[in-house]
Symmetry: D3
Subunit: 270 residues, 6 copies
């Protein structure tokens, strides 16, 4: 892997560990962050050896969200014409969105491990992950409302599918902070672990379990759930039938079946 | 505000309090109710001073639903030709739906405070609100099944997004009554308060909090969540980018930022 | 009813009891199963006397999912050309899906009663039912991942609408087994009952309650909720208005109203 | 009918003739125009006696589009805050759109008869009609591009379904003027007539023919074609099945059948 | 092939010729017609040897549409309750639609050859075919309007995609008869041939040409065009990528490539 | 501009001329072609000075489509496992599609000028352009069917919206070659010009005309038409209202208005 400024990336036992690595800045999302994350997830997508991703934040906090300096710098690029400014801003927002779309569209499962602050843009980020796990004292807040804007890099678009419409609106209108336990109760995170060490241990255990499954099956499964977020049941059924028409001819099915019959652990090619 | 027969409407501190005001009739929804609610929400939409809405019912109950006299009177308008009757009924139903669409489409957040009965049409109504809060002894029932019809002013259309598909079907098929606590457990209401006084106090506190946020940001947030109920994630991302292309040029962003830096409370224009 | 090999079907008091009846094979879904279930639900759809369906499994377990012999036999039908194999497999998957679509599209409510194993294809099946009830020691697992494939007869398509996106992915990627209590906590089942006897008693009580309602209203309600899983709120409102334009001219409304006025139990025609 | 300032409205032989009536201003669409058209089409919708609508322009031209004075007056309502201006403009555009939505959603067929200029907003208007007929020397132009804006009251949204994507873009990007013959060749109008008299005669003959058909059948037909512009074929089939479930019980079917058998002209109730 | 009462079916040189065979009744669609057509197209779908279908009518006319006796017999099945009648009618219409859906969903191209009358239900039928060819004196009319109903077995749903919105509405509202030449001019048929003999000769020549192509490629092409009628461009691109992921591994590609290089005629397996 | 191997790119008078520049290979689309086109259109998108694009082919032909050597080289990357091959192929197809998506998503209008061969992949390419113009002796063919595959980089997805469903299927199933005149008759090209010189002169004249319009208005217009290809009319109306909420505050509107009043030619900023 190449060197990153905002991240630390490691690949061990088929698991890519992507850690936001600016702990002295509460892992605020600066310009490096937004471009590097695209490169990292392109590499993950193209590297057959990577089967699962764990996303975490170095230090006491997951992330305080977008770096306010970055936001301020966008303002300086604006001119006098409202229409042209609007085109500039629209393009800029689409660019930022592309960074988290890279996480959402990644063909391998992404597990987020969250402790401490998870604010504003950090909620947008974890909404683009597959699953979320936290410590009880994690603090979640849709902070955008407090800087006078509607969240525009994914929270308002992806979170309603995860936590339901009613509580979604309360959190988005008030910016209220919830802790890890409440996050679990409303379905934002799947489980809490006592502290950061237990959290990482627990999430890596899950990741290892997924990494041992057939990669062909895991990617198909992710693609189908992703697809269902936006499509009809009948379209989804037709899509999986077309998908599996090829994938059921893969060796993984035979490997899994044979292992099942012999009560052994299957070994799948990358 | 003009005088209403089925409602009492007050505007204090940027919060419009809309109270169904026929306590002697358990706040049953009569002809006045259905037309006045459209006027009220048009006024709310057009009045910049209103930033949040609290919807409640006067007396011991929120509402017993549609007035059966009104339903009976529709029957008297029918003639002999099934086809023409169908056109009359279809138009009538679309008219009733328009009353609650006015709540759903309102550009400001609507918080429902529910005590006592919340039956039939009242469920249709609260399904069109942004958030719902209740007392523990509130009683919710999709009563339509018991008068031999499928609910047709919004319950079956909006509630599945709020409480999920499985319990939705049980409640709709059986008309089973659930209390405030069960309503909270399945996500129908966000929180319960000990009694009606605590309920109103709690909901108004929330409303005040939202009223203090940037109105530009609150409306954008509501529009985006409303949009996501029916659209794809990629469409939603494109829509917020286009929306914020204008809104990020608003003064509210600067006001909020400045207040944030100075750790002061921001003051936003209406 | 005709004789079935994989099922036992009874009609009592307007309730069709459909029981998977291969307890010695843990109710594994063999070739008979997949074709008979279509016939059974066509009969249910066409038989006005049937108002509700209870679906259960004979013996200690609900079902272990698709019979692995059946899966193996599909493999033997494949030839050398990958393209033609893909067409064969695609057609075969669409056929299997059609069996559970018959359950999903059935115009009467289907209640699943689940004890013991509910694995793989059995999850696909219960995802196509209206409501699910279980014993605390039931065991649910999206087993497909362990035989190297993405679930393709409905689980990945229907379950996200029932249990939400976050936990859905964990269960689908890991194949983790959850018991009845956890299933209830995440909304997969509506309620648990102490043991199989209590379960069937409870589910039949619910079924009787639904069977006593207006069949015109129950079918309309089911059609609307089914429709909303895949459509927009505004489309849903237009659809129910068109539907009820005819149905509100039914006698059931008058029967229900009259009974309501006289505080009697209504009797509806089939 | 009440008196209108921008229109002349007549009802003869079940046909409503709606004529834009500001010939001295080339029928430019002023403030009166935009509000009165809503009232007129509401009246048409609610008046059973009206079965078809003919829309035309008094004098030498159909219409030169939106009155530039009106456009200028909107500008004066804007303040300093870009965000609040954007909300004002968005609301204003939605209001203007509502005027032509009233034409599009009208339950009776609307036939446009076009001579002379048909520019800018006038293209938006005729795109919302059911059918269009013209004189050979009519002049059509998507004029909005020449005042520096994208057409926002319906042309860009509805016209592609009528004339196809390729020529649509050329006309929208260039604002090129086409005459009646070219309009017919690309499907924008169904037929041309030698001059204004022949045009009105021809369109009224068509209108009379439609007025003689079953109103139940005509409205159902219009609703279905309108629905198909935005929905899937399978949704459309389900919708017409639900619609006709009521409408086929209408007397019109029997009247039409009987007339058909006896080779007589049927007479339908309004 | 089994014997059919309403059809004559022949398979020669990979082309199935399906001929409506009740010339003495102007090929009116009776009860046999509607059930046999489903069987015929299921057989076509399952028989690898069939690569293309030609659909024609025996005698002087293609078909006069639905048999009025059949329509009348439906009326006799209705009872007194409007609601239950509506359910009966809805089910009946869905059944009739299923007959033409079988044509639309057929995995092989269907070419319609039309001479003489093509009225009412016959328009519904040819709208479900892939391509249409006619004699100049063929007569097309959306006859349903004249029997007091909106067409409900496919014309209003499928035809707008073929002939565009503007002329569609004129033909549907007036029931106006157009001949083969006008049908060609508006895109309803692709080409006209001088008389019935030339028509069949021309259509069979086309069919032979298609039958000589790779069946894997032809089916993929049909599936994609069918899919695009109802889906977004981005969904369509993702779908063909998934489809071709398997199909490009087929031998047909190599066979076609090799033949292309050697300038020979390729021979594809069924 | 940087140097390209497969293209020649020039920017003159706000018009980017993109010419496929491998005339000795009939402009076949090789590996360079597919990657360079993305860079070129990214540059076009980001360069405010570019307002319109003309796409043409050097020499006697527009393009013979994908280079068969490239196709062959993909085959060599495949291994033994059908499932993994399918994933490789799917990714490869999505990559090729991305090249033409770059044309489709380009925010400036793209005009294709076509002479000679326009085969296979070249049809996919021109389907992604805004408008198409040709010489009478141009030759169009959906060639993919003849190499045993369904077209998978855009033809089957985009062309039906341009030429209608009926002729689309004939051309796709048969691969029949049509010339410029027939292409014009079915709406594939907007106009023909006598020869290549006249063609380029005509297309550049059109391009200059568009380049003189307000760039803010042109981009908005393109975005809206692109959006309508895949969205509902009501969504489109909401989208343009949101878009114009910002754009109508642009200076271009005032510039255009002032020029219009003074009957002068407006000058817009890039």
């Amino acid at each position: 892997m190449s060197d990153y400024k905002a991240f630390r990336v490691e690949l061990t036992d088929k698991i890519a560990h992507v850690e936001i690595n600016r702990p002295e800045k509460i892992n605020a999302m600066n310009a490096d962050f937004w471009t590097e994350i695209i490169d990292i997830f392109r590499w993950i997508d193209e590297t057959d050896e990577v089967r699962v991703v764990v996303l975490s934040g170095a230090g006491k906090h997951f992330s305080s969200g977008i770096d306010l300096m970055l936001l301020a710098s966008v303002g300086t690029q604006l001119g006098k014409d409202v229409g042209r400014n609007a085109q500039t801003l629209r393009r800029k927002i689409l660019e930022l969105q592309a960074s988290f779309n890279a996480v959402d569209n990644c063909s391998k499962p992404v597990l987020a491990a969250i402790q401490g602050y998870c604010l504003g843009g950090a909620i947008d980020l974890i909404s683009a992950c597959d699953m979320r796990y936290a410590t009880p004292d994690a603090q979640f807040s849709i902070k955008e409302i407090d800087i006078g804007m509607a969240a525009d890099v994914g929270t308002l678009q992806r979170l309603p599918r995860i936590i339901g419409d009613g509580m979604m609106r309360e959190l988005a209108f008030t910016g209220r902070t919830i802790d890890g336990e409440e996050a679990r109760a409303i379905g934002l995170v799947n489980r809490t672990y006592a502290d950061r060490d237990a959290l990482l241990e627990g999430v890596f255990a899950l990741a290892r379990e997924i990494a041992a499954k057939s990669p062909v099956a895991v990617r198909g499964t992710k693609e189908m759930i992703r697809y269902m977020r936006d499509h009809r049941v009948d379209d989804g059924l037709e899509y999986i039938a077309t998908w599996n028409a090829a994938m059921l001819q893969s060796a993984d099915l035979r490997v899994a079946m044979a292992a099942h019959m012999n009560k052994q652990k299957p070994e799948f090619a990358d």
